[in-house]
Amino acid sequence: DVKVTQSSRYLVKRTGEKVFLECVQDMDHENMFWYRQDPGLGLRLIYFSYDVKMKEKGDIPEGYSVSREKKERFSLILESASTNQTSMYLCASSFWSGANVLTFGAGSRLTVL
């Protein structure tokens, strides 16, 4: 069964801490995405990557950075967590093809105190 795995399901951090959210996919997908999900706002794109060491800003990149050193791994970094970054974070991947389908991980719920 193909998967996108987010290693941390629940995290509680303090304001100002550095936070790493890890995402690994085993489908050899070129594209990987980080979304933030908040009630009533749907999914908002933070960053995406089409290839190793490549990254592009999405709609809400402020306060976040990403790293893609290997094709299967895409990490989201909060350099200095703030309370307004409390949210559900979803990682997804897709093939570079005409029939685009996003495969999501189960999500990482982050609470910043």
């Binding site: 749907g42 908002r44 389908v101 991980g105 999500g107």
Partner: protein, 109 residues
């Protein structure tokens, strides 16, 4: 940013009732997808519609893509408690996905 508005935002119905969820945008998309998300899980693709006016059926779920490829609807016939979840539409342009605001459906036994 492409914006997709879904309505209603919340829906609570009795088992056996029918319902329709709408996804509207002013933008044209190459395709439109519907995902369902259950509590504690990530969204899972239900269907992709590609052609304007296209209708797809998945058991009791009927999906339609608007003629102008700007909007879509999801109709559920005789809803079951297992249909409970968050329904998200997503407009696709190239390799980009633009998600709707979501419809939270609760089907009461």
């Amino acid at each position: 940013t492409q914006l997709l508005e879904q309505s209603p935002q919340f829906l609570s119905i009795q088992e056996g009732e029918n319902l329709t969820v709408y996804c509207n945008s002013s933008s044209v998309f190459s395709s439109l997808q519907w995902y369902r998300q259950e509590p504690g899980e990530g969204p899972v693709l239900l269907v992709t519609v590609v052609t304007g006016g296209e209708v797809k059926k998945l058991k009791r779920l009927t999906f339609q893509f608007g003629d102008a490829r700007k909007d879509s609807s999801l109709h559920i016939t005789a809803a079951q408690p297992g249909d409970t979840g968050l329904y998200l539409c997503a407009g696709v342009l190239g390799n980009q996905f633009y998600f709707g605001t979501g419809t939270s459906l609760t089907v009461i036994p």
